[in-house]
Symmetry: C2
Subunit: 284 residues, 2 copies
C-alpha cells in the first residue's frame, strides 16, 4: 500500500451488500493462532480493526456497540457487582463496565490474547481502564472457563463475540447458554450480541431466543441500535434473565448516571426496549 | 451490463465511506430535466432507485424512511386533515399519509414528474394509493407552489427531499421554512428529512434547527432511525411546530393504530424522541 488512499471493503454476501471505508495505511497485520488481525488507519474513522476480513471496531463508531452491550444490562441488574465479558478482546466493553461504581470485579475472558495486545497499541482509548484494580484478564476458551466457574457466582455475563462462525460458533447454543445460567446468581442477567435486525430477525435472533428459552431463561428482549460498520448499519443485542423482567431497569440510576457516555442515556435505553413491528412478528 | 451480477456503489466522500448493493440488471436509465434516474434490479433488496448517483429507495428498506417521515408527524398533530408532501416523488410517503383516516386531502408536490412515472412502473407497491380520491398531484417547484398557497391552510408539511444540493438546496433555509409556517394552520407541524445523526449533527442538523427557529418554529425535535442504504446507515427527520410541543403525540391513537406498518409503532415513536448523548451536546 502506498500513501495514496485506498478502500477496505467487507462484502456481506448472503444479503448482497457491502460497506467500505477509505484507508490510508495498513498499520499492522498478523495471523494469530485464531484469526487474521489487520489494523488500518482510515481517513475519517480513526483506526480500524478487521478480524478475518470482518469489521470489528473503529475509533469513530465503536461507542454505539460498546455502550449498548453494557449499560442496558448493567442498569437492568439491581446491583451488579461481578461481571464477566466473554470475548471483547478490544477491551471497549470492559471499559464501559468499569464505569459502573457498583462493579467490584470484572473478568475479560478472550480466546485470542493478540487481539488485546494489538488493541493496547492501536486503540489505547478502549484500553485505558485495563489497569483498573477491579479488572481481571484471562486469555483462553470462554466456554471452558465458564464450566470451571462456581454456580451462582456472577451477576452479569456479556457475550461480546464475533459472528457465530469460527471461534464464536459455540457461544450461541443452549449448552453454553445453560452454563451461563448456572454461573449467574439470583437476578443474574446475560446479554449477547445478536447481529442485524434487518437481516437476522427471522434467523439468528429467533434461533437465539429459542436457545435461551431452552437453556432456562424466561425473560428475553432484543435491543436494536445503529452500528454503521456492521452489515446493514443496524445491529442488536439480546438480554435474558431467569429471575428479572429485562424490560425493566433502574431508571433513576440511568437518568442520573455518574459517568459520561456518547450514545446511551435513560431515553435511549427506553427506546431500545421498543421493538419494531416486523421484529415483533418474527419473534412472537 | 451482462446477466452476471455486478455492484452499484455510492461513495460518501466527505466521510470516507461507501455502501454497495449487488445488482443483476439495469432496468431503466434516463436523464430527466432535473437529474439522472437509474433503476436497478438488485439480488437481495428488490428494485433500487438511484438519482444522480445517490441511493433513493429500495423495495426492501424504504419502509423505515417512509414510515418515520410520516407517522410521527401525523400522530403529533391532533387532527391532521390537510397534508402536503414536498418532494416524495416515489409516492412512498404519500401512501403512508393516506393510511391515516383523519386525512381528507393530501398533495404531493414533486419537481420531477419522471420520478413518479418511473416509480409507478418499478415501485408499484409504493404507488398503490395514488388513485385514492384524497390524493392530489402537482409536478413543479414546491417553493413556488407553497407561496401561492393560502395562509393557515395546511395541517402537516412533509419535506421529503433529496440531499440539500441540486433541486433540494432551497428547502433547508429560513425563507422557505417561513413560507411553510405561513401555510400551516394553528397546531401545524412540519417534518424535514435531516440526514445522518453520525455525520451531520454538528452541521446540517444543527443548521436546520437554527433555520427553523429563525423562521418562527419554537418546538423542534430530531428523530433518528435506521436506514441501511443512506450514508452511515443511520438517518433522521426533524419535526417542528410553533404551537405544539413536538415531543408529545397522540399516544393512544398510535398504540391503537388502524393500519399496518413494518417499523413504526407507539414504542418506536417514543424511542425516536429520545436523543443520543452526542446529539444533545451538538444541538443544545
Amino acid at each position: 500500500m502506498t500513501n495514496k488512499t485506498t478502500w477496505f471493503e467487507e462484502i456481506w454476501s448472503p444479503e448482497g451488500s457491502s460497506f467500505s471505508l477509505e484507508v490510508s495505511e495498513l498499520l499492522h497485520t498478523e495471523q494469530s493462532d485464531y484469526q487474521k488481525i489487520d489494523i488500518y488507519k482510515t481517513t475519517h474513522w480513526g483506526n480500524l480493526m478487521v478480524l478475518d476480513g470482518c469489521y470489528m471496531v473503529t475509533d469513530r463508531d465503536n461507542f454505539l456497540y460498546h455502550e449498548m452491550m453494557t449499560h442496558p444490562v448493567l442498569f437492568t441488574h439491581p446491583d451488579p457487582k461481578k461481571v464477566l465479558v466473554i470475548g471483547g478482546g478490544d477491551c471497549g466493553a470492559l471499559k464501559e463496565v468499569l464505569k459502573h461504581p457498583t462493579v467490584k470485579e470484572a473478568w475479560q475472558v478472550e480466546i485470542d490474547e493478540r487481539v488485546t495486545r494489538v488493541s493496547e497499541e492501536y486503540f489505547p482509548d478502549l484500553c485505558d481502564s485495563n489497569n483498573d484494580t477491579r479488572a481481571n484478564f484471562y486469555f483462553g476458551d470462554g466456554i471452558a472457563w465458564l464450566k470451571e466457574r462456581p454456580a451462582n457466582s456472577l451477576d452479569v455475563i456479556i457475550i461480546d463475540s464475533t459472528d457465530p462462525v469460527g471461534p464464536a460458533a459455540g457461544l450461541f447454543n443452549r449448552e453454553f447458554l445453560g452454563e451461563c445460567l448456572r454461573a449467574l446468581n439470583t437476578n443474574g442477567v446475560l446479554v449477547q450480541q445478536s447481529e442485524s435486525p434487518l437481516f437476522h430477525s427471522n434467523t439468528l435472533i429467533k434461533d437465539l431466543h429459542t436457545e435461551l428459552k431452552a437453556a432456562g431463561f424466561t425473560s428475553l428482549k432484543t435491543l436494536p441500535f445503529p452500528q454503521p460498520i456492521y452489515p446493514s448499519g443496524w445491529w442488536s443485542c439480546t438480554m435474558a434473565s431467569k429471575d428479572l423482567d429485562v424490560t425493566q431497569f433502574r431508571a433513576s440510576d440511568a437518568e442520573n448516571k455518574v459517568f459520561d457516555t456518547q450514545y446511551y442515556n435513560y431515553g435511549i435505553h427506553l427506546g431500545a426496549l421498543c421493538t419494531p413491528e416486523f421484529m415483533k412478528k418474527a419473534l412472537d
